[in-house]
């Protein structure tokens, strides 16, 4: 998973500062215009670096927090097969978080600083994880819609101008397809079940549809970071991606046999796209701003895990130091 359009200001990020230099800037812009990649130690404008740290770390945080709503269902998966699949998916999300933290660290921030920013609530993560997972069908719908939306968002990032981020995203995207397909497969299975199971699927779709299309972020006209396009970080706009997602999803909903909860959803032959209802952005900003249903729980769970793992992190480093000292004496 799981970026939404993460152009949401966090606090300041620290790191090495380099002098702004018009000659270097011209060279940098020429590289971007030529479609070249920028690598970790290359000169870059401070604003580019900061934007990347913010975007990559918010993305990493989203992967890590994203393990919580699904992890919640591992012990309640209805079969051993579904349990194994869900475990693998949740493990992937952890892996994606780690690829991305590593990419962010190439920009001169430390892992601890990034973790701190998440735990203190200073850093943002995808609003989607502040919604609860109420029934088993939610797990399928998250795979299908939430991972589906994330894939739409993430594929263009595989070509983003910052090399370490682009490479991490290639790795992530290769694994995402499994996430979406296992979700859809789970739902297909439920649709073949009882009337009650079909209702569970419809109920989950009803709850996740709007949050999913909100994952693409604010409308282009309200987007605050247009320089991300100039810099080749964001190559396709929020609204274009959202439209692409809606267009692709309608058919999938039909095959599944559920309806998407939008009375205005309709094919527009003139545009060659589906029209859909206006989005309530107040809810989006409310959830991003920390007032969603689960924000408090999610951060509490991350803080608890971090605090309870402290002794392991300390013991491991003390052990490593002791071993190194012993080897030195023996040598």
């Amino acid at each position: 998973m799981y970026t939404q359009s993460l152009s949401i200001p966090d606090g300041e990020v620290k790191g090495p500062r380099k002098l702004e230099n018009p000659e270097y800037l011209a060279e940098f812009n020429a590289k971007i215009d030529a479609g070249d990649f920028i690598e970790a130690k290359d000169w870059m404008p401070e604003a580019y670096r900061k934007t990347l740290v913010r975007q990559i770390s918010q993305h990493a945080h989203s992967e890590i927090v994203g393990m919580l709503p699904e992890g919640n269902w591992i012990t309640r998966a209805p079969s051993l097969k579904r349990k194994a699949i869900l475990l693998a998916k949740v493990q992937d999300e952890g892996g994606h978080g780690l690829y991305l933290y590593a990419a962010a660290e190439t920009l001169g921030v430390s892992r601890d600083e990034l973790t701190e920013a998440l735990l203190s609530g200073k850093a943002k993560y995808s609003s989607i994880f502040n919604y609860p997972t109420l029934n088993w069908a939610d797990i399928g719908v998250i795979g299908w819609l939430v991972d589906g939306a994330a894939i739409m968002n993430q594929i263009p990032l595989c070509k983003c101008s910052y090399g370490p981020y682009a490479r991490a995203m290639i790795r992530v995207c290769k694994e995402e397809s499994f996430h979406q397909r296992q979700g859809y497969d789970l739902l297909l299975q439920m649709m073949k079940g009882t009337e009650e199971q079909r209702e569970m699927v419809q109920d989950a779709v009803n709850r996740w549809w709007l949050p999913s299309i909100m994952m693409f972020g604010p409308h282009d006209k309200d987007s605050i970071h247009t320089e991300t396009a100039r810099w080749g970080i964001k190559r396709i706009s929020n609204d274009d991606l959202r439209q692409k997602f809606v267009d692709a999803t309608v058919k999938q909903a039909e095959v599944l046999g559920i309806s998407l909860p939008d009375p205005l959803l309709k094919w527009n032959a003139e545009r060659g796209h589906y029209d859909f209802s206006p989005i309530d952005w107040d809810e989006f900003w409310n959830v991003v701003g920390g007032h969603g249903q689960c924000n408090v729980d999610r951060l509490a769970a991350r803080n608890k895990a971090w605090a309870e793992g402290a002794w392991v992190r300390e013991a491991a480093i003390v052990h490593a130091e002791k071993q190194a000292a012993r080897e030195k004496v023996a040598a």
């Binding site: 690598e39 130690k41 000169w43 892996g95 780690l98 660290e105 694994e175 992190r313 491991a316 190194a324």
Partner: protein, 95 residues
């Protein structure tokens, strides 16, 4: 106690015998053994490798990207090092 961050390791994976190890990312780990363990879990969940190298990031010596021009300049004007420099008669040009 002020906690130290686990050191950073750069990870290189050989995807199958016959190919080079290739850089794939980095991990934090307290020592070499754990670096390999963590790298296995992070970078080879789908049989992506048959061998892992972990190198402490602080032990890597890298050339300076700002000195790229001077460093690689000596090779720039030696086009005679490439086979295409030599124009041979058509009959033997596939040599």
């Amino acid at each position: 106690m002020e906690r130290k961050e686990w050191p950073l390791w750069e990870i290189f994976i050989r995807s199958r015998n016959g190919l080079d190890h290739k850089h794939c990312g980095s991990v934090h780990a307290p020592d070499a053994r754990m670096a390999l363990q963590v790298a296995r879990d992070v970078y080879t969940r789908r049989m992506e490798g048959v061998s892992i190298w972990a190198v402490r990031a602080s032990d890597i010596v890298a050339s300076d990207p700002d000195a790229k021009a001077e460093l690689f300049d000596p090779a720039e004007d030696k086009i005679y090092r490439h086979p295409t420099f030599y124009q041979l008669p058509e009959e033997v040009n596939h040599m």
